[in-house]
């Protein structure tokens, strides 16, 4: 056991856990942030996607010792800034508007992958968006509505 310190959604976090504990388990079990989902536990589905220093990663494949001193963003953090205004993140709004969530298991990971894409300056073209979410499986929506929602946010306002 060791103490690991890092930022989660802007706030300092410290956990006293084995260094090989998965970031996914640390978030869900040690920090109570259950927005991040576990699907496959082996990097295939992307349900556990979070941002690590701004890059999208599968939290089920990251041991917490590698997170020491770094910046984690989860789906809970997505709406933090927006909540001050009493609203959701623009991406979350767009997912709602376009019906991009059905059962919702894939949604937190999908949102984080899309957020990473937009933060890196990604534009509204279909192919790039599909590449950006290729690591996130959805069994319900057929992806079209998800892509539409991301396109809507990526399209510059006139």
């Amino acid at each position: 056991m060791s103490a690991y310190r890092f930022l989660v959604n802007g706030a300092p976090a410290q956990v006293d856990v084995p260094g090989m504990r998965r970031l996914l388990d640390v978030l869900r079990d040690d920090l109570g942030l259950t927005g991040t989902k576990e699907g496959c536990g082996e990097g295939e589905c992307g349900a556990c996607s979070v941002l690590l220093d701004g890059q999208v990663v599968d939290a089920c494949l990251v041991p917490v010792c590698q997170v020491e001193g770094r910046i984690v963003r989860t789906v809970e953090g997505l709406s933090l800034a927006a909540r001050e205004r009493g609203s959701l993140d623009t991406l979350q709004e767009a997912f709602l508007e376009h019906g991009a969530a059905q059962c919702g298991i894939c949604t937190p990971g999908m949102l984080m992958a899309a957020r990473a894409y937009l933060d890196a300056g990604g534009g509204p073209d279909d192919e790039s968006i599909r590449e950006a979410i290729a690591g996130n499986l959805c069994r319900c929506t057929g992806y079209t509505k998800i892509v539409d929602a991301i396109v809507a946010v990526a399209t510059p306002l006139e």
Binding site: G19, M20, R22, G41, C60, V62, E68, A116, E131, A134
Partner: protein
């Protein structure tokens, strides 16, 4: 919750070497292979692990005396963004873009792909086709292992248990071209059914020189198709040469049947990929 073996997090190479020399220790770089193995209990759980993520000596992409040198911890995303790779060995950029999706590319490393030594490791045929050398190190010193001597048997490499991969050196001979093609099931996230790298040097009058045909997923290790290489040596990428090379390749390969694909399919696809690459090179 999956097993949580003991892990050390050294900052310097010498500390890592000490740990490795002290007893069986499994390194972890991006974790995209090793975490899956632990969670899925696909292999015996290592007792001790060694995190490589804080060791700066394993990072970086440099041009050194006519070679492109990539640190073992270089991620696929770093390769895709590297101006040096794009300029000097664009095939690395092309291949990195086909590996997993963003989540895997942001974490998975070149050194991990090599040490993991899966026959389906997508970067490995490129190492073979470019005559790359793998620099490894440990308490007993450093040594450079040519890629062609590195992959010994199924998932077995020339790396000793107390050694780390430090970096990979890709020589950059003038006039060399390298092509890459991967056939999987889906576009992203797909484990290769067949992956091929083709390299040659072209000085005009003499025909192709130093031809390399390297493949993954068709044998227990990544391999070079030496008979096919010989057929193409000194040749030009004409339709006749392509037909002949494809035919020789089908006979030379001895792939396996497995859950992803049959041996015949792999042979056929390999021949078709080679034919296509030669057609593109010949411009017909």
């Amino acid at each position: 919750m999956p097993a949580e073996p003991q892990i050390d997090v050294p900052r310097h190479l010498f500390e890592a070497y000490e740990r490795l020399a002290a007893g069986p220790t499994r390194p972890i770089a991006g974790g995209t292979d090793v975490m899956v193995a632990i969670t899925g209990e696909l292999a015996p759980i290592p007792e001790r692990m060694l995190d490589l993520s804080r060791i700066d000596a394993l990072r970086g992409i440099q041009l050194e005396a006519g070679s492109l040198v990539l640190g073992a911890r270089t991620t696929y995303t770093e390769i895709r963004r590297s101006a040096l790779c794009r300029e000097h060995l664009p095939v690395l950029v092309e291949a990195a873009a086909t590996i997993g999706a963003a989540q895997i590319q942001n974490r998975g490393t070149l050194g991990g792909n090599i040490a993991n030594a899966s026959p389906a490791g997508d970067m490995l045929p490129i190492l073979l086709a470019t005559d790359a050398a793998i620099l490894v190190g440990g308490q007993r010193g450093e040594r450079e292992i040519p890629a062609k001597d590195f992959f010994i048997a199924y998932r077995k490499t020339a790396l000793a248990p107390d050694e780390l991969i430090l970096h990979v050196r890709f020589p950059l001979p003038p006039g060399r071209e390298v092509r890459f093609r991967k056939v999987g099931t889906r576009r992203a996230q797909a484990i290769s059914k067949v992956v091929m790298a083709l390299a040659w040097e072209d000085f005009g009058s003499t025909g192709w020189q130093n031809v390399r045909v390297a493949l993954g997923s068709v044998a227990a290790t990544p391999i070079r198709a030496r008979k096919t290489e010989l057929i193409l040596e000194g040749a030009r990428p004409t339709p006749e040469a392509a037909d002949l090379a494809a035919e020789i390749l089908v006979r030379e390969l001895n792939p396996i049947d497995d859950v992803r694909s049959t041996a015949d399919y792999r042979r056929m696809v390999s021949a078709r990929i080679l034919h296509r690459l030669l057609r593109e090179a010949g411009g017909w």
